[in-house]
């Protein structure tokens, strides 16, 4: 085919192609100029960083002591197991995986999968196989028989340990592997993916002290993470140690008594808390049943978790702060103080309780007995319900005007009810202090005098935490200062230097007449001296208020197989320095026994009173300890 009559190439097109090529090279050159000459220094430093990496060294977590130096949380040396796939011959992988499976308690499939994934991703980089640290003997086994475990590395990895798990888990909580949310929240605090972090309790609350500061090892390495050499080391700063206000001796005594009752079936659950009323230091905090917080360190099984979650007693909840209960007669503190402060009552307000029933508007309101005429001290000491119905809600039959629900709510809140106390623990409940407004908002119903009566004796809608109750009575016992209860006495560095000491923190001074508080203290003392709170042969000037809070049907049955009205027992107490009513107490204690009606005794002595006497007398050294106390 002849192409003669055809122009087979346009010079203009060739020129266009040439110009396009030149233009393209100009663009490439400009880009290169920008990368290499303008930003050359920047990329040079990036290339340096590529070679030199900083590898974090995790700090030792701070330990936790009680106020006298007993160790409550420590770090046991533990070990992590990892595998470098390139050092593990493929034909031995199955064999090694099955051996490791037996030793570290992970399934063969899991281990094989982890190694194989790493083999394709980066066979030079170790893959950590242990989710949690393993014990020393296991690590030694692996190291001694290293010929059986090619490519397997064992490295240090501390293990948090709690010597008294059941006793302290409600206070200390536990640590665990950091999760994605926590990591995001702490990204700027130097947390890493392999970090542990406090999950609850003081471990959570004081994470910032306990954690310490990461150290760094600067190493040169290649892209396959092979280390070529260490260039420098910045050692980690260990976390600070916590010294708690808790006294292990008191904690043990209290826990022993409360736990024994649960074991003997006298009550299903219990909470006990003691503090120094003069500064808010918590001396003991016991919640029974509790849980084994060591289990969270070594790994909680699903069945264990299910068991805890399905237990109606909620062992994972700290009952001292995390749950709320009707306070029963202990709430007469609020009713009494409201009546005194509003002028409704004085020490000499006498009400003749000549019947067990007060009938108002056709409804019957009962007392536990017909007391006869009672003044304020007598009414408080004998815990007369009708006396306090009258002080709280008045008596339409006699024309006596009570303090009223608004005053009750006001003084309850002043005493710290209805709001968290602010203790240094997570998961604190607010409790409920009802008033007419609250009831209308909640139930859409108007307040009745019956509501006031019920509130006056701590029943009905009122709900408090044991800690709120204790703290309110502590404010009475110290003469009118509401302190923020706290568990932390001080924070010390590993070499003993105190870096933080919270000290007493005043929530508020009670806006009441100090004489009225003295009346309450006298009433509390009278309850003990008249044996309403039965403390035979007591060797200390105890004062306190009992409470019996009804809550429906008991789990227990009486001799005839009837289920009785169920109740919880309370006893809140304080111990002045002398046999007088001065605000000098250095210890106050609240004990709450859940469903103590289980025992269905005939002469129902409030068991919380006896516990208080035994625990505090032993603690103060005036009685001999029960030989069984651990």
């Amino acid at each position: 085919m002849l192409q003669q009559g055809r122009v087979f190439v346009h010079p203009r097109r060739l020129t266009a192609v040439a110009i396009a090529l030149v233009a393209i090279f100009v663009v490439l050159s400009v880009r290169l100029w920008d990368l290499q000459v303008v930003h050359g220094g920047y990329y040079r430093s990036l290339a340096e960083e590529n070679r030199i990496v900083r590898i974090p060294i995790l700090p030792d977590r701070g330990v936790i002591y009680d106020r006298s130096g007993k160790l409550l949380a420590r770090n046991d040396p533990g070990f992590a197991v990892s595998v470098i796939p390139v050092d593990l011959p493929q034909d031995r992988e199955a064999d090694v995986a099955s051996r490791l499976s037996a030793v570290i308690g992970r399934s063969v499939d899991d281990i094989t999968k982890a190694i194989d994934e790493q083999r394709t991703r980066n066979p030079y980089e170790p893959v950590k196989l242990t989710e949690r640290p393993i014990a020393r003997d296991v690590a030694l086994l692996l190291m001694e028989r290293s010929e059986l475990y090619p490519g397997v590395n064992v490295s240090a990895d501390a293990l948090r340990s709690y010597p008294d798990p059941m006793l302290y888990s409600p206070i200390l909580g536990y640590v665990g592997d950091i999760n994605a949310e926590e990591l995001a929240a702490h990204r700027n605090d130097g947390y890493l993916l392999q970090d542990t972090i406090g999950k609850t309790g003081l471990e959570w609350e004081y994470e910032k002290y306990l954690r310490g500061t990461l150290g760094w090892r600067t190493v040169e390495r290649d892209a396959a993470q092979r280390e070529l050499g260490t260039l420098s080391v910045v050692p980690p700063t260990p976390g600070d140690d916590l010294v708690l206000t808790v006294d292990d001796r008191l904690q043990r005594l209290l826990s022993y008594e409360l736990t024994k009752g649960v074991q003997e079936g006298k009550w299903t659950a219990a909470a006990g808390v003691a503090e120094d009323p003069q500064n808010g230091e918590i001396l003991a905090l016991v919640s029974v049943p509790s849980y084994d917080n060591n289990a969270f360190i070594t790994g909680v099984t699903q069945s264990q978790m299910n068991a805890w979650n399905s237990d109606p007693r909620h062992p994972l909840v700290n009952h001292v702060i995390g749950d709320m209960y009707p306070p029963g007669s202990t709430f007469k503190l609020v009713t009494g103080l409201s009546a005194l402060s509003t002028g409704v009552a004085t020490r000499h307000t006498v009400i003749d309780v000549n019947s067990m029933v007060l009938t108002v508007d056709g409804f019957n309101f009962y007392d536990w007995r017909a007391h006869g005429p009672l003044d304020f001290i007598g009414g408080f000491a004998n815990s007369s319900d009708i006396y306090f119905y009258t002080l709280g809600g008045g008596n339409p039959n006699t024309g006596f005007k009570g303090a009223g629900p608004e005053a009750l709510a006001k003084y309850a809140r002043m005493l710290g009810f209805g709001a968290p106390t602010g203790i240094d623990l997570p998961g604190e409940a607010s409790g409920i202090i009802p008033d007419p407004e609250w009831k209308m908002a909640r139930f859409g119903e108007p307040w009745t005098i019956g509501n006031t009566y019920q509130e006056s004796i701590g029943q009905g809608y009122v709900a408090v935490t044991p800690l709120q109750l204790l703290n309110a009575y502590s404010a009475v016992a110290n003469g009118g200062t509401l302190y923020r209860p706290h568990l932390l006495k001080e924070v010390k560095t590993a070499d003993g230097k105190v870096v933080y000491r919270p000290g007493p923190q005043v929530i508020r001074k009670l806006d009441v007449n100090p004489a009225d508080l003295e009346l309450i203290r006298e009433g509390g003392r009278r309850a003990v001296t008249i044996y309403h709170a039965y403390m035979p042969d007591s060797k200390l000037p105890f004062a306190g208020k009992t409470g019996t809070a009804e809550f429906g049907l008991s789990q227990g049955t009486d001799a005839l197989g009837r289920r009785e009205l169920a109740f919880h027992n309370w006893f809140v107490s304080w111990v002045p320095q002398q046999y007088n009513y001065d605000p000098t107490a250095r210890i106050s204690m609240a004990i709450f026994l859940y469903d103590s009606s289980k025992s269905l005794c005939d002469v129902c002595l409030n068991p919380a009173v006896g516990i208080t006497q035994r625990v505090i007398e032993t603690y103060e050294g005036v009685s001999k300890a029960d030989a069984n106390v651990p």
Partner: protein, 395 residues
């Protein structure tokens, strides 16, 4: 049938009978010089990257010897092809086309896999990459097609498109997205030089652009992530963006004069992936800096402009289109490879002419450049052709 439009009338011209030596001396010495310098540059860079990659355990001496061997083979092939009348290649074009298809089909059937793609075949102990030869063969096939068919007509253009479609599909199946794109780029280059109507080409480009979303959905996940990674490599710095970021660091850290031959750090520490082939430019820019890259660019530009000059000097359509196609092929590969290393283009596996290590690429390019020299040495009727072509334009 002849590819020399006015060969017969001048057959008796005294010029036609000039001695072979003198004919051979009419080769394009600028093209030859730049070719030789680029081949040498490739050997030097190959030595440097081999030294830097010695941690991988490969024998440096063996790699350098291999690079030199490929250079010798390539230059020999170039010489042989240069001595032969380039018209021969056109005559062989149907055979070359079938061979292209067979080679590419072979890859799919018996090819070796590296990094998830199958691009190699072994024949008699030699591993080679058929798609490299396929590129050059397809330049010849298309040049021949446009020499015989009017590129301005729809049929001529559509025929060429049909020719290229089959190898593109086969290469795409490997999967080798980069080579597919190079094929298409080369097609547009030849069509442009061959005089296809601008609006035809524009329409084709528009159709191609319209098909992009469809094709994108059809791509493998790794190809998709490579394509998107270049837009923002820092979105997944340890994944899809890793290669790009490390390549940028290598290039940028080379600064003005580079770290020196064999002194680069990105490649020996394993940060720079496939530093001897796809990302070879990054290694070169790290070692030799902006200056070294500019020397390379100048050599490339001289080479490409010489190739275009050959197209201009060619006295026959086949030769002109062949030269245009070679310019497009080389230019496209350079832009795609360098653009990838400096994050102006998505990451695709296209070798950098002369610099990427591997015999297939170098030998096939040498083959093409030999054909161009042949165009220069086999046009003995300069004046007559000029007058005739002027006459043709005038008519």
């Amino acid at each position: 049938m002849s590819v020399r439009p006015i060969a017969i009338p001048v057959a008796a011209s005294p010029l036609h009978d000039r001695p072979t030596e003198r004919r051979l001396l009419s080769f394009d010495w600028i093209l030859l010089t730049s070719t030789l310098l680029l081949v040498a540059y490739g050997v030097v860079v190959g030595y440097s990257t081999a030294m830097e990659d010695r941690a991988s355990g490969a024998d440096v001496g063996e790699q350098v010897l291999r690079a030199i061997l490929y250079a010798v083979i390539g230059l020999s092939v170039m010489t042989v092809v240069a001595l032969v009348d380039h018209a021969w290649l056109g005559t062989f074009s149907p055979f070359l086309y079938v061979m292209t298809l067979v080679l590419l089909a072979m890859v799919l059937v018996i090819g070796h896999s590296t990094l998830g793609a199958t691009r190699w075949v072994s024949i008699a102990g030699f591993r080679f990459q058929p798609s490299e030869f396929a590129k050059v063969f397809m330049v010849i096939v298309l040049a021949k097609w446009f020499a015989d068919h009017e590129a301005r007509s729809v049929l001529g253009l559509a025929g060429a498109l049909a020719l290229i479609a089959v190898p593109v599909a086969l290469v795409y199946r490997q999967p080798d997205l980069g080579t597919s794109i190079v094929f298409l780029g080369m097609f547009f280059g030849i069509a442009l030089v061959a005089g296809a109507r601008p609006w035809h080409l524009t329409a084709l480009l528009a159709a191609g652009a319209a098909a992009v979303p469809l094709l994108y959905g059809h791509l493998q996940a790794y190809q998709q992530s490579r394509l998107t990674a270049f837009l923002n490599p820092y979105a997944d710095p340890r994944g899809a963006g890793w290669n790009i970021i490390q390549s940028l660091i290598a290039v940028g850290s080379g600064s003005l004069t580079g770290k020196g031959l064999t002194a680069g750090t990105q490649s020996p520490l394993g940060y720079l992936p496939i530093s001897q082939s796809d990302f070879v430019f990054a290694g070169l820019a790290e070692d030799l800096g902006f200056v070294g890259a500019m020397i390379l660019f100048v050599l490339y530009l001289v080479l490409l402009l010489s190739v275009l000059r050959v197209a201009h000097r060619s006295r026959d359509a086949f030769g002109a289109y062949l030269a245009g196609g070679v310019a497009a092929l080389l230019g496209f590969q350079i832009v795609v490879n360098v653009g990838m290393a400096i994050s102006l283009m998505p990451v695709t596996g296209v070798p950098l002419p002369f610099i990427s290590q591997g015999g297939s690429s170098l030998i096939s390019i040498c083959l093409a450049l030999g054909a161009l020299q042949s165009i220069c040495t086999h046009q003995e009727v300069t004046s007559a052709v000029s007058s005739s072509s002027a006459a043709a334009r005038g008519s």
